[in-house]
Amino acid sequence: MVKVKFFAALRERLQCAELDIDSQPSDSVAEIRHRLLQQHPSWRRELLDNDVLCAKNFTFVDLQAAVNPGDELAFFPPVTGG
């Protein structure tokens, strides 16, 4: 199980802030995202947007990063603070 969070415009468009999803020890971010899309096919356009960033346990990662049960993943749009 990994916790998945969404922020800002992505959170609003998916109408989801946080969910839990099953995971295997050998999963990658890409695989978790694939499983999210299987459960929520309507998220396809938003979640596959090239601009979407991903963090694992509070650190930016790419789609190849390994994800282990207990990790926290987050997907969000480019940041606009400051």
Partner: protein
């Protein structure tokens, strides 16, 4: 030579932060940056909401300051970012850097702001008379952060 990082709803006082930065007796230079909520080019901004990713935000900001300390000899560094609803003319962000030399103080403050803009998980939503809009990321901010990698 402390580092102070705060993510908060409350306003901050540049006067108080400057006082603290100026106390270090080895640092002859103090640079501060403050970012404020301003009217849009098209006008009609009522307010702004700043969302962030609690936990990650603090970690990214601490990492930015650590990276700056690796590049420059610095004294006190203070970094404050507000979240929640902000009104026109409110203060949003503060970076203060004390250093023995002015070049280090200026460059570290610029470096921290450039990377904060592209790396720290904050998102601005503008509330205008026409509705609410998420702010789009700027290519110029990305370019400013990338430029440091050539140094």
């Amino acid at each position: 030579m402390g580092t102070e990082i705060r993510v908060q709803q409350d306003d901050f006082s540049v006067a108080d932060e400057y006082q603290q930065l100026a106390q270090e007796s080895s640092c002859g230079a103090v640079v501060t940056f403050a970012g404020l909520v301003r009217e849009l080019a098209e006008g009609q901004l009522d307010a702004m909401t700043l969302e962030h990713y609690p936990g990650m935000t603090e970690q990214v900001l601490a990492d930015l300051v650590a990276q700056a300390r690796g590049r420059w000899q610095l004294g006190q560094v203070t970094l404050i970012h507000r979240v929640g609803r902000l009104a026109l003319n409110d203060q949003i962000v503060f970076v203060g850097v004390a250093a023995p030399h002015r070049k280090a103080a200026f460059e570290a403050a610029m470096f921290i702001m450039d990377f904060l803009k592209t790396q720290a998980p904050f998102w601005k939503q503008e509330h205008t008379t026409d509705g609410s809009y998420w702010v789009a990321a700027k290519d110029t901010d990305q370019a400013a952060a990338t430029a440091w990698q050539d140094d």
